[in-house]
């Protein structure tokens, strides 16, 4: 596609801090290149704001190559913007036309409180991982990779689940603010592998208990999370979590 420049109207959520009442503010950016990423367009806007002596817009970003899960904008009603299986940093301005008005909001969920502007606190995800999203091992000598046979299909499915970057788009997209796609992916990728097998029961129980404690909702299988996920995590991972939970709760002898 040929390069073009555009002028845009931005309607951006501004909120001084978690306790403050936020609101939308209108901005205009001009001469934006279609080859810029969405975050670069925000960099341009922030430079404008700094030059004008205003407070720049706070937003999360890190790797800017779609693998860290830091960026988190809700753009025109969809987490990470209009493109499919895409992060905000990989969203390019060619997705928009000259004169467009773009509405940018933070992730909305009580479990993800706004820190400032478009930045939300996603440490709830860290605490869910701490509750069981790992394999306990006594590190001895490195074992030969081929010593533990793993069926190819399991390895592929485990890898597909492990693609989750923990960005929180699933929570942002879900009408219930449920974190089940995230937890489902983390439970699945370990449950599918022999290394994760010994702790599979306690893992799913503890991670789910933490998810509930953090204030995320329950899953109603609408599929909005899957549609918004930048890493195409399958909804089947949630069903696998349910199966793991059912098995753990019936087998557990406490």
């Amino acid at each position: 596609m040929e390069h073009y420049s555009m002028n845009l109207n931005l309607k951006v959520w501004r909120q001084q801090n978690a306790a403050a009442k936020g609101g939308f503010k209108l901005y205009r950016v001009e001469n934006i290149s279609s080859e810029m990423s969405f975050l670069e367009m925000f960099d341009v806007l922030n430079e404008q704001l700094v030059h004008a002596g205003e407070d720049p817009i706070t937003f999360d970003h890190d790797c800017r190559e779609g693998i860290c899960g830091a960026c988190s904008m809700h753009i025109n009603g969809k987490p990470h913007g209009p493109w499919y299986a895409n992060t905000t940093c990989q969203l390019h301005m060619r997705a928009f036309k000259d004169g467009d008005t773009i509405v940018v909001e933070p992730w909305r969920a009580n479990a993800f409180p706004v820190i400032k502007d478009l930045m939300v606190d996603r440490s709830a995800f860290d605490r869910i991982i701490q509750a069981g999203g790992y394999v306990s091992v006594n590190t001895g000598n490195a074992v030969d990779g081929n010593a533990i046979p793993i069926p190819k299909n399991n390895a592929d499915e485990a890898f597909a689940a492990a693609m989750c970057i923990g960005c929180g788009a699933c929570v942002a997209a879900c009408k219930n603010s449920s974190a089940m796609l995230f937890v489902g992916a983390k439970v699945s990728h370990l449950a599918l592998l022999p290394q994760g097998d010994p702790e599979r029961g306690s893992r799913v129980v503890n991670m789910l208990a933490q998810m509930d404690k953090e204030g995320f909702g329950a899953c109603t299988n609408t599929g909005a999370c899957e549609a918004a996920c930048p890493k195409e995590i399958s909804l089947s991972n949630i069903a696998r979590l349910n199966k793991e939970y059912l098995a753990a709760s019936f087998v557990d002898n406490k």
Partner: protein
């Protein structure tokens, strides 16, 4: 983990919804099957025998208690989950993801369920309640339900109400059928495709058959 912990967790609550949902789906098969006897062309003889088997026999009558228990559990848990889920996002979006991410009826299970509940109140007071009152809630003489249907469904507004109730049931099942199986842990992609196909077929065929019953009486087909 105690049973209390299991059934108060978000997945445990959903398991209750899934299992009771599948139980109610099974009941619908029996209900639609027995009611289809109205089309036997014998002026309600076969239907009356089927109705007598369900109402004048202790076994189905005891199972009926289980049906109401399952129904109540599904309704109460459904409302509690809906309200709890709604409370997880105090500040909504200015622009919503809406139909781009999910089907409207999958997001409206609470609303569809409420319409079905209101329909059920009317439906139960039309048929089940007068029959049980006549029986003294034991095994007393039953009323003729075929004649009762003919009287009830001679009113156009009643027919429209029943068709709307069946339409809500159809959309509720279109999501509920496959969602119930996902909730109880069916994750195999092969079965998911199968279940969604059966789910859509069930959601069309069963409510359509139910809706055709008042329509058939109104149009004089039976």
């Amino acid at each position: 983990m105690t049973w209390k912990q299991v059934f108060t967790s978000s997945v445990g609550k959903k398991l209750v919804m899934g299992f009771t949902g599948i139980f109610l789906i099974l009941f619908l098969i029996i209900h639609v099957g027995l009611n289809a006897c109205i089309w036997a062309g014998d002026n309600g003889v076969m239907f009356t025998q089927a109705a007598h088997f369900m109402g004048g026999n202790w076994v189905p009558r005891v199972l009926e208690i289980g049906l109401f228990a399952g129904l109540l559990l599904h309704i109460i848990q459904g409302y509690m989950l809906s309200f709890s889920n709604q409370s997880k996002r105090s500040q909504g979006y200015a622009v919503d993801f809406g139909n781009r991410g999910s089907k409207w009826y999958s997001r409206s299970m609470g609303l569809l369920g409420t319409i079905i509940l209101l329909f059920l109140v009317v439906h139960i007071s039309d048929f089940w309640l007068p029959n049980r009152v006549s029986q003294g809630f034991l095994l007393g003489p039953e009323i003729n339900l075929f004649d009762k249907m003919r009287v009830e469904f001679s009113e156009l507004w009643v027919v429209i109400l029943y068709v709307l109730g069946c339409l809500s049931l159809g959309y509720h099942l279109a999501h509920g059928f496959q969602s119930a199986f996902r909730t109880i842990g069916v994750h195999n992609k092969k079965y998911n495709t199968l279940l969604s196909t059966i789910g859509y077929a069930f959601a069309i065929i069963v409510p359509l058959a139910f809706a055709m019953m008042p329509v058939s009486f109104y149009l004089g087909w039976v």
